[in-house]
């Protein structure tokens, strides 16, 4: 039966193994034996809710794994330590630091995606109490993945970060991430996700009542060949036509009629259903008709 005394014994024994001593002819740390002991002690402490010691043990185990040359295992131990820190009285900054350390270990092991995922998990953990820190962690996660060129495989990470920013009503951050996601999809040739990302960016900006920015983003997106021939582009065009008519009912009708809007991410689809927000301002959205030469029937030239 595992008990606190067992855990204490294991911890003492493992710590002794980590100190050089002449009696046992040990000149350097014996991590190979100490690491599993630390892990076991940490698990027992965790079940007995002695979270401080559990965290210490996990951190030592992580160092042990690192010295043994296995940064991936070190990263796993660090993540466990971070989880314990979150459960305990540790501050959000400490938890975030532990997750960052875990991400560094994963990056050392060459696993950029796992590194990004661990930062995302950290962000999710701290987002309730410290949204600014969560925002930073999400950004670090995305940068880690982009640096390694694997951004096309990490759609979930982007989605989580975007949903967080929408929940926190940080519209410009959400739009930035959406455009970034769209360019990531471009590199991996994920047509559908890319078009949906651009349409989501337009919807978010319209919801935030920034019609000029929405139109600018839309125009930029139309430069991308995948988007300019997609259904999503036509839906955006219809939305802007409705806004130009300055009729709130018209906008609602378009939102209801176009099913593509309900196929977007949950968070963005919810925003789309609430369009139009505020008063529809008369903003310079550009000419509604293409400037073709007006043919005058009487002009015979």
């Amino acid at each position: 039966m595992t008990s606190l005394e067992d855990a204490d014994k294991l911890f003492k024994k493992a710590s002794k193994l980590c100190t050089p001593s002449l009696l046992h002819l040990r000149l350097s740390f014996d991590w190979e034996q100490a690491t599993p002991m630390f892990e076991r002690a940490a698990a027992i402490y965790r079940t007995k809710k002695n979270l401080d010691k559990a965290r210490q043990c996990y951190e030592k185990a992580a160092t042990g794994q690192d010295r043994q040359g296995s940064p991936w295992h070190a990263g796993k131990m660090m993540e466990k330590a971070a989880e314990v820190c979150k459960e305990g009285p540790g501050s959000q900054v400490e938890t975030a630091e532990l997750y960052r350390q875990a991400a560094k270990y994963y990056a050392e092991a060459g696993r950029a995606q796992t590194s990004g995922e661990s930062l995302c998990r950290g962000a999710k953990v701290v987002e309730d109490k410290d949204p600014a820190l969560a925002g930073k962690l999400y950004l670090e996660a995305i940068e880690a993945v982009e640096d390694d060129g694997k951004e096309g495989l990490s759609g979930d990470m982007y989605r989580q970060a975007i949903a967080f920013h929408i929940r926190a009503q940080q519209w410009s951050d959400a739009v930035l991430l959406l455009t970034r996601f769209a360019s990531a999809c471009d590199s991996a040739n994920l047509r559908s996700s890319q078009c949906r990302a651009y349409l989501s960016a337009v919807v978010v900006l319209l919801y935030a009542q920034d019609t000029l920015q929405a139109f600018n983003v839309y125009q930029d997106a139309l430069g991308v060949s995948n988007f300019s021939s997609s259904d999503e582009a036509f839906v955006a065009e219809a939305l802007f036509e409705a806004y130009r008519s300055q009729d709130a009912e018209e906008v609602k009708r378009v939102v209801k009629a176009k099913h593509v809007l309900s196929d977007l991410d949950n968070a963005v689809a919810r925003l789309a259903r609430q369009l139009p927000t505020g008063s529809i301002q008369m903003v310079q959205l550009g000419p509604s008709k293409i400037q073709t030469d007006d043919l005058d029937a009487d002009d015979l030239t």
Binding site: A112, G152, L153, R180, A182, F227, G286
Partner: protein, 275 residues
């Protein structure tokens, strides 16, 4: 070497030699005397940075990346206009020995800054329209006009005024047609909804498959590598075992055991002989 490796290594090297960096001389910009000018100089620097970024973005070939960078530029511009300029306006009246001329001068500077910020190029250009592949620009893709050619009609019949009036039959027929049309339209809307959902699902599945394909390719390469390493390890182990278990060693071991046993027997005999 991956980018992450480069980053960690450069971090370590930097930390190692950090102490050799000279102490950065902090310029005392007469900070207590003129906060306005400090803010002004820092804003001018920020505007120059943004202009450089705008130039780089303009030269970017990848359109999607360009869109993302433009969005960032616009956001930075908005933040400058909404946060920094009001700060400057508040600082306008602060400081020692402020005369009316200085205030006018500062107002002019703020106006200049505002113009400089708004003229940062952020990729705003003429209007584009979406278009289906294969369509000409200028055709918004609406239904084509169908021209009905009416031929072989007797002109005298057409000229009679009663020809064009509704009878009971024709109006009933027309009503039937309208009801049927409405029903069909409803059904078609239903189908359209279902089809668009199916299209979304299909596209998502396709994308997931593409992603999985890429992952499978990486796994394939890694497994090939691991198989090669295993093969070499197996061969090495075989060699080692051969060395350990060679028959020469075995014969030697047997002979030595026989000699030891013989020795033991001899010692036993002498001891039991004595006793």
């Amino acid at each position: 070497m991956s980018v992450a490796d480069l980053l960690t290594r450069s971090d370590l090297v930097y930390k190692k030699y950090e102490k050799y960096l000279g102490e950065k001389e902090v310029k005392k910009d007469a900070k207590s005397m003129d906060p306005f000018m400090d803010e002004y100089t820092s804003l001018v620097e920020k505007i120059n940075e943004l202009n450089l970024k705008a130039e780089e973005t303009a030269n970017e070939k990848n359109r999607a990346l360009k869109a993302a960078l433009n969005a960032e530029l616009r956001r930075a511009k908005q933040m400058l206009l909404e946060q920094e300029l009001p700060k400057m306006e508040k600082l306008m009246r602060k400081g020692k020995n402020i005369t009316k001329e200085i205030i006018d001068d500062r107002t002019a500077k703020i106006a200049q800054l505002r113009e400089a910020i708004t003229t940062i190029a952020d990729g705003v250009h003429g209007t584009r329209k979406p278009m289906k592949i294969g369509a000409l620009p200028g055709t918004p893709g609406k239904g084509k006009n169908v021209d009905l050619a009416v031929t072989n009609m007797d002109q005298r019949q057409l000229d009679q005024p009663d020809y064009w009036k509704h009878t009971a039959e024709t109006s009933a027929f027309r009503q039937d047609w309208e009801v049927a049309k409405k029903r069909q339209d409803k059904a078609l809307d239903h189908i359209e909804k279902g089809l668009s959902t199916l299209k979304g699902i299909g596209e998502a599945m396709g994308e997931t498959l593409t992603q999985q394909g890429v992952i499978l390719d990486t796994i394939d390469e890694k497994v090939d590598q691991v198989t090669k390493e295993l093969r070499t390890n197996n061969l090495k182990l075989k060699g080692l075992l051969h060395k350990m278990r060679s028959s020469r060693n075995f014969c030697l071991d047997v002979t030595i055991i026989c000699i030891l046993l013989a020795l033991g027997l001899y010692i036993y005999e002498t001891v039991s002989g004595k006793a």
